[in-house]
C-alpha cells in the first residue's frame, strides 16, 4: 500500500510512502491520517488517471512485517521498539520531507489559531503550551492552522499544516473530548492525536493579527497575565521559530517575519491553565472586533 501526502507548493512532487507487511492496509490508513493531505493508494491497482504514482520511486519505505522500521531509498533502515515512538518519528520525517519541498513557504514552529479578527500565532518552546492551547481552541469551536507547525506565505498569510494535535491523554479527557474520536494507534498511549476535523476543522489562510509568546508556568499568577512584547523581541522569537535550516531559508524569510510583526500585536501570555489563556485571547479578540466595528 502507498500513502501520498500533497505538498503545499503547487508544482512540487508529493511525498510518497510505501507501506509493506501483513497489516499494511491498516497501517497505511492510520499513517494517512497523520497529515490532512494524506491519501491511501493501492499500489497494485492500475490508475491510468494518475500514472505518476504507479512505478514512481517512493520517498519512504515503511516495513511492518517484522518489527517496525522505515528506510529512505539508499539509506539504512531505522527500527523502533514501540509504536508510539515509531509513529511520532514517522510523522516528523514526513513533515521534514514536505517542508523540504515547500520552498515558497516559511515553516514556523508555532501553533496557529483562526479567528474573525485574523490569525493568532502562538510561539514558544516545546512545553510552553502551544498544543494545549490549540486543543482548547479547537474544542471551543475554533478552527486552527496547526498545533506545532504553521506555514507563512509570501504575502504574510498563515496557512495550515494539517497535522493532528498531539497532546496528553489527560488533556483530551479534560477537554471532554471522546478519546475514541482520536487517532488511536494504541489505546494504551499516554499521548493522543486529535484531528480538528472532528471539531471546527482546519482554518483557511488568514493574515496574522496577534503574535503570542506562550509561557505555561505552574507559578503563573491566578487568572494568567498578558504582557506586551517589544517588536524586536517578538521578531527574535519568530525568526528563531523558523524550521528551515539556516542556510535553506526561503527567500524573504526575515522580511515576511517583519511584515507580520509590524501588522500584528505581540504579547507574552503567562498562564497556568488553558482556560485562563483562552479568556485572555477572547478578550483581545473582543477588543479587536469592537475596534473594527466602531
Amino acid at each position: 500500500m502507498r500513502v501520498r501526502f500533497r505538498v503545499p507548493e503547487g508544482q512540487a512532487p508529493p511525498v510518497d510512502v510505501l507501506v509493506r507487511g501483513p497489516d499494511a492496509g491498516v497501517w497505511a490508513k492510520a499513517l494517512a491520517r497523520l497529515h490532512g493531505t494524506g491519501e491511501v493508494w493501492d499500489a497494485r491497482s492500475h490508475r491510468p488517471h494518475r500514472p505518476s504514482l504507479d512505478g514512481s520511486e517512493v520517498d519512504l519505505c515503511v516495513d511492518v512485517a517484522d518489527g517496525l522500521m522505515w528506510s529512505v531509498p539508499g539509506g539504512a533502515p531505522a527500527s523502533f521498539d514501540d509504536r508510539a515512538s515509531f509513529v511520532s518519528a514517522l510523522e516528523a520525517r514526513i513533515s521534514e520531507m514536505i517542508l523540504a519541498r515547500s520552498t515558497g513557504y516559511v515553516f514556523l514552529h508555532a501553533a496557529g489559531l483562526a479567528g474573525p479578527w485574523g490569525a493568532t500565532l502562538v510561539l514558544g518552546a516545546s512545553g510552553a503550551g502551544k498544543s494545549s492551547l490549540a486543543l482548547a481552541w479547537a474544542a471551543d469551536g475554533g478552527a486552527i492552522f496547526g498545533d506545532d507547525v504553521v506555514l507563512l506565505d509570501g504575502s504574510g498569510l498563515v496557512h495550515a499544516h494539517p497535522r493532528p494535535i498531539k497532546v496528553a491523554r489527560a488533556q483530551v479527557e479534560a477537554a471532554e473530548l471522546d478519546p475514541t474520536t482520536t487517532l488511536e494507534f494504541d489505546s494504551e498511549w499516554s499521548e493522543l492525536w486529535v484531528e480538528p476535523g472532528h471539531l471546527a476543522g482546519w482554518a483557511d489562510p488568514q493574515p496574522v493579527a496577534l503574535v503570542v509568546l506562550a509561557r505555561w508556568d505552574p507559578d503563573a499568577p491566578p487568572g494568567g497575565e498578558m504582557i506586551p512584547l517589544k517588536n524586536s523581541e517578538a521578531l527574535q522569537r519568530m525568526v528563531r521559530s523558523v524550521l528551515h535550516p539556516a542556510d535553506q531559508d526561503p527567500a524573504g524569510t526575515l522580511e515576511r517575519c517583519i511584515q507580520v510583526i509590524e501588522e500584528a500585536s505581540a504579547v507574552t501570555l503567562w498562564f497556568n491553565t488553558t482556560a485562563d489563556a483562552l479568556r485572555h485571547l477572547r478578550a483581545i479578540a473582543s477588543a479587536a472586533q469592537s475596534a473594527t466595528s466602531s
Binding site: 517589544k230 517588536n231 524586536s232 521578531l235 527574535q236 525568526v239 528563531r240 523558523v242 539556516a246 542556510d247 531559508d249 526575515l254 522580511e255 517583519i258 510583526i261 509590524e262
Partner: protein, 88 residues
C-alpha cells in the same frame, strides 16, 4: 584599523527602530536610528571621528559633536562585544 561590519548581516527597518539580523545564527539586534546609521557607515575606511561627523550631520536635533562621538564609540564597542564587526 577603521572598523568594518561583518558581511552577510542584514539591516532592516522595523517601525521606528532597526533590526540587525545574522541569518547564520538567527541572532537579532535591535538598533535605534543613530546606531543603525553608525553601523551602515563602518566600511573599514572611515575613522570613528569621520563616522561621528556624518552621524552628527545626518541626525536631526543631534547633540554636540563631542557627545555624538562618545555615543559612536560606545555603539561601536557594543558592536565589537556582540561580534558584529570583522575581526582583524
Amino acid at each position: 584599523m577603521p572598523p568594518r561590519t561583518r558581511s552577510r548581516l542584514i539591516l532592516r527597518p522595523m517601525g521606528e527602530e532597526w533590526v540587525l539580523y545574522d541569518p547564520e545564527t538567527r541572532d537579532l539586534h535591535a538598533l535605534n536610528v543613530a546606531a543603525a546609521l553608525t553601523w551602515s557607515l563602518l566600511d573599514g575606511e572611515r575613522t570613528l571621528e569621520e563616522v561621528a561627523a556624518v552621524v552628527h550631520r545626518e541626525m536631526q536635533q543631534a547633540p554636540d559633536l563631542d557627545v555624538v562621538a562618545d555615543h559612536v564609540r560606545d555603539t561601536v564597542a557594543s558592536f565589537v562585544d556582540a561580534g558584529l564587526l570583522e575581526s582583524e
